[in-house]
């Protein structure tokens, strides 16, 4: 076997009792693109930081060109030719492209006085290597995300980089920009560069990488040539579970419609919407953007009340003009964007879980006993399998999937009966997605009704009992989930175009 | 947290004790030391430093607890705050030199409703007060300064006037008196613009004077009201080399204006001794606390206040005749 340029061997690292990495190894060879995949919280970021010298490992060693180090410091790592393109690019938005490119080099050379000409020379050379042209006098804040990434890559190359580590580089890119990036990565590979591509979008990893290392819970679980893996394999390695082909248990009790909507209309959004959903049923609502599905969800939750029509919960007509109305009626809403609409990132997990039910748990005088709060919230940590050492930690410290679970749990804890889930798994990695799906099924198993609003056809096909298709503000089709799959759904939607 | 509590408890206890001490009637018979706060417009400037001397001298001589406070910036709201504070402390009397008479009315009403005696100075229109003691009749004082200004201007030409603030009653009365005198007696003189505010700030007076010189090249005279104008305007005139053309007169203190009196840019300053004013305010306050009413012709035993004149319309308003004129010739007689 060829000797590796950089290798991490048997690295362990823990943070305050949480074992982030346990005897993890990864090696990079010349001209190789290696994918490092794993769910959020699997230890990918920690490993990157150890390779970049930002963190020191507790045990294990880092081998660079056959030389063994117990710990790299950032300067050593840079000297060894290791460069990290962070997710945030580490650029200076207020400075020009030229200056961003030249700054690190100048700093490295101990430059004291700035020379415009030298700066320009460095910057031009850096971009030339990527074969791209960007206006050097623009400030970075004015660039598109893809151009910012280019600048970050070009800057990395300036340091005689031999190894480039890219941390989830495709997150904010459009499909076309991703293709451009892949082109650049292939060029770099052809120049003999080694790349560590860190991500969780499996299609991309499989398409781009020569070899793949999979981490799960801070351990190596699989490693090999990319060709050896199928997407299903990767998912299994990443989650440790089989997620495919789970038959749906039909728990629908037909005797009672828990939610019944009749002739609901809202001007400019949707018209004459009628449907019913039983306890234990997951009803999917889909449609293209502008179909009125989100507006429907918002009006059921009282955020944008409907103009006419009736809503019945357990055969009782309810009037929903506001969010408190909806909460009183037992309707809960899990918003689309988990961070801006969902969690209070700086607040503790237990407070986040409790927020929607505060009025129910408060003492009549208005104060809330912390002990009571903890009692109400505690069971949900377990039921939702939220992984945290303490419920008093801020939500910001949780991984994306766990944050989504907190949002889910917050509404479940209110004893809601109808759950409106708007894109509950957008931006969530594959394992957490499966967890959330399982959770939804489990919850309806307890007699809830769930309305699942989603674009993800596979998700709809897998989770729902029935799928309502909306188009131009109306329900145009109802598809039973039995015997329906992703492709069939896509055909149905395609017909609407 | 616990440590804070440990500190707070004795502090609260002390505060309670202090406030209990005050619960008896204010108009006590018999000699006991009163606590008298003198609240001025602005602490730290020479004028009120001098007043502090008088207040402290009265305290030393009589055994009463007298002190002087003022905001660090000339600001009515800050002055109200300080008065609120001394009310809360439970003083027996408040002597006050208001920055803005109107702004202080509510807080002084509150003070009086709690039995605190209020004596004011430089505030002839104050309503919520027990006695107002003015060093002189403001209109007469302003007219007197105008006589000096006219003398230096040869009774003709353009002049401008400054006040500390447009809400300062006495400053505006001085200027009223001055303008009335000019109109009656010096028709050849001409006021160029409305009264200019300088916020008791020497730098502002200086900048505004330079601007006046720019805007009105023929300007021959400036009459100031706040003690900072005589120095600030004097500095500007000196820098512009206009000593022979542009005369500055106004209220001021020798310590602040000595170099401009020497250079001839400031011709004359007039003042009443703020130490004496502080002294007599406190003396009147004690009289009132002891149940005695001041009356017309009263002799307070302080130069300029040996025969108080009672206002004909407002029985609690008293005038002294305490102004002092200072020029280069006699300035060495004053050390403040």
């Amino acid at each position: 076997m060829r000797p590796a340029i950089v290798a991490a061997r048997n690295i362990s690292k823990s943070f305050g009792g949480v074992q982030a990495l346990r005897e993890v190894s990864v090696a990079l060879h010349r001209g190789e693109i290696r994918g490092l995949v794993g769910e959020n919280g699997s230890g990918k970021s920690t490993l990157i930081q150890i390779l970049a010298g930002v963190l020191g490992p507790d045990a294990g060693e880092i081998v660079v060109d056959g030389k063994t180090h117990a710990h790299l410091d950032p300067r050593e790592a840079i000297r060894a030719g290791i460069q990290v393109i962070y997710q945030d690019f580490s650029l200076f938005p207020n400075l020009t492209v030229a200056e961003n490119l030249a700054l690190n080099t100048e700093l490295e050379h101990g430059t004291r006085f700035v020379s415009r000409r030298r700066r320009r020379r460095i910057a031009t050379a850096a971009l030339a290597r990527l074969g791209r042209d960007i206006d050097l006098t623009q400030t970075v804040a004015e660039l598109s995300v893809a151009d910012k990434q280019l600048v970050a890559i070009a800057r990395a190359l300036l340091h005689n980089a031999r190894v480039i580590i890219m941390d989830e580089p495709t997150t904010a890119l459009t499909q076309r920009e991703v293709q451009t990036l892949f082109g650049i990565v292939a060029d770099l590979k052809a120049q003999g560069m080694s790349l560590l591509f860190v991500g969780h979008k499996l299609q991309e990893v499989l398409a781009l990488c020569d070899a793949i290392t999979v981490l799960r819970n801070g351990r190596n679980v699989a490693e090999g040539e990319a060709a050896q893996f199928s997407p299903g394999d990767l998912v299994r390695h990443m989650t440790g579970r089989h997620l495919q082909g789970r038959p749906r248990a039909t728990t629908v009790s037909e005797d009672e419609d828990l939610l019944k909507v009749t002739d609901l209309s809202k001007a400019g959004a949707f018209a004459h919407v009628s449907f019913a959903a039983g306890a234990g049923e997951v009803v999917g609502i889909t449609g293209l953007l502008g179909s009125g599905r989100t507006e429907l969800a918002l009006s059921l939750f009282g955020l944008a009340p409907a103009d006419s029509g009736t809503i019945e919960i357990a055969e009782q007509a309810v009037r929903i003009r506001s969010v408190p109305d909806a909460l009183r009626a037992g309707i809960a809403y899990v918003p689309e964007d988990r961070l801006t609409e969902g969690v209070f990132a700086e607040q503790s997990i237990e407070r986040n879980l409790a927020i929607s039910g505060l009025s129910a748990w408060a003492h009549p005088a208005g104060w809330i006993s912390p002990a009571r709060l903890r009692r109400v919230v505690a069971p949900w940590l377990g039921r939702l399998r939220i992984q945290t050492p303490s419920a008093r930690m801020p939500v910001a410290g949780l991984s994306g999937g766990n944050q989504q679970k907190v949002v889910l749990g917050r509404w479940l804890a209110t004893q809601a009966r109808v759950l409106i889930l708007n894109g509950p798994t957008v931006g969530v990695d594959v394992g957490a997605k499966a967890d959330i799906h399982a959770q939804i099924r489990e919850l309806v198993g307890h007699g809830l009704t769930a309305l699942l609003i989603s674009d993800d056809l596979r998700e709809l096909a897998e989770v729902c009992d029935r799928i309502l298709v909306m188009h131009r503000g109306r329900i145009v089709r109802e598809i039973p989930a039995a015997g329906c799959d992703e492709n069939a759904l896509a055909r149905e939607l395609g017909r609407l175009e | 947290m616990r440590r804070t509590a440990i500190l707070i408890v004795p502090m609260l206890a002390a505060a309670l004790l202090l406030s209990c001490r005050k619960s008896g009637p204010n108009v006590a018979a018999g000699p006991r030391p009163y606590t008298i706060a003198t609240i001025v417009k602005l602490d730290g400037i020479a004028w009120f430093e001098r007043m502090r001397e008088g207040v402290q001298r009265f305290g030393r001589e009589t055994g009463h607890k007298c002190f002087l406070l003022g905001p660090a910036q000339a600001d009515a709201a800050l002055q109200v705050q300080i008065i609120e504070d001394v009310i809360a402390q439970g003083v027996d009397a408040i002597c006050v030199v208001p920055f803005s008479v109107e702004a202080l009315e509510p807080v002084l009403r509150k003070a009086r409703s709690q039995g605190i005696v209020v004596v004011s100075h430089e505030a002839s229109n104050q309503v919520n007060t027990d006695a107002i003691i003015e060093p002189f009749d403001n209109l007469a004082y302003g007219a007197h300064l105008m006589d000096h200004l006219a003398h230096h201007m040869g009774a003709s030409g353009q002049y401008a006037v400054f006040v500390g603030s447009l809400t300062s009653k006495s400053h505006n009365e001085w200027i009223d008196g001055a303008i009335a005198r000019q109109k009656g007696k010096y028709p050849q003189m001409e006021l160029v613009t409305e009264r200019i505010e300088e916020y008791d700030n020497q730098n502002t007076a200086y900048e505004k004077t330079k601007e006046l010189i720019r805007a009105y090249p023929e300007l021959k005279g400036i009459q100031g009201s706040a003690s900072t104008t005589a120095a600030g305007a004097g500095l500007a005139v000196e820098e512009k080399g206009l000593q022979e053309k542009l005369a500055v007169v106004g209220s001021g203190l020798v310590s602040q204006c000595r170099q401009y009196l020497v250079s001839g840019s400031t011709k004359l300053i007039s003042f009443w001794d703020p130490a004496d004013a502080g002294y007599v305010m406190n003396k009147i306050a004690v009289m009132l606390l002891e149940g005695k009413r001041p009356s017309d012709g009263l002799d307070l035993g302080v130069p300029g206040y040996t025969q108080l004149r009672q206002d004909t319309e407002k029985p609690n308003l008293f005038y002294g005749s305490a102004w002092v004129d200072v020029t280069r010739q006699n300035m060495d007689a004053y050390n403040f």
């Binding site: 200076f92 938005p93 700035v114 | 660090a72 330079k210 601007e211 820098e239 080399g241 022979e244």
Partner: protein, 330 residues
Amino acid sequence: MRALLHRHEFYLAALTLALSAGIALANPAFCSVANLFDLCQGSTVMGLFALGVLIVLVSGGIDVSFAAIGAFSMYVTSKVLLGLDFQGSAAVALVLGGAIGTLLGLFNAFFIGFLRLPTLIVTLGSASLFRGFLLAFIGTAIVNTLPAGMVRFSKLTLWEMRLADGTIAGLPASFLLLVVAALLVGCVLQGTMLGRGIYALGGNPVAAARAGFNLRGRQLFIYGGTGLLSGLAGVVHACMMRNANPFDLVGMELNVLAAVVLGGAGITGGRGTVLGTLLGVGLIVTINNSLILLDVPSYWQKVVVGAVILVSTGITARTGWARARGAGLC
């Protein structure tokens, strides 16, 4: 030319010129060498403070203690030199005042750079501390007679002429100090890695740390430098007023901050130039010193000053937004 139209300074200069033209139309006395000198002199103290504030704002911090530092340095310098009965040059006063200012600035830098406390909190606290210490332990009485050297300096002019109307128009020597300070600050900020590091720190502190900038060293420079400028401003103020009043200066913080922000410095850090700052100061000083020329009644002067600041910051900020939106940022 296109680049010029994108510059904040261009709009600011245009605004100042338009305003000046308006004033000159209303009162031709505005257009005179003497008035120009007066405006220069009026800008000196504010300009020195503003340069210090600029450095701090560029680095992503905020400083509200500079006026307190200026008052402290000015008063202590005057007292010390009087106590020593020092008769020599004002340069000694400037060095001493600058040194005291630097020390107080380093005091801020310690809390900000080493204890990593938020800059607003630190400087709010230190402003109170410096001022309280000054008034409580050093004195409250105005020093009316400054040391001889300072008085000489206050009368020193770079250039002096006697005008037809008999007045003297002089450009005070202290203005040179502002010019030199502006050139130095400009060179450091634009032309050295130290300065670029301050912009980098203001633009993205995390990236600055990753890039290997010595951040503590930078904080020492930033707050020490601001302290130095504030100390100098204090001494210059005392010289101009020919007295040292410990109550002076404090209260002008907002005006200085407004001038710097008006000059295009971002309150969130990473943006700002010396030229813009000087233009901002110039604009505010021009407004403040032209109201009598325009015969604006006293009651209205504050209204006019407030309105002009609001409108001009509004206009300059809008042009910034428009550019950002054009680039797809907003």
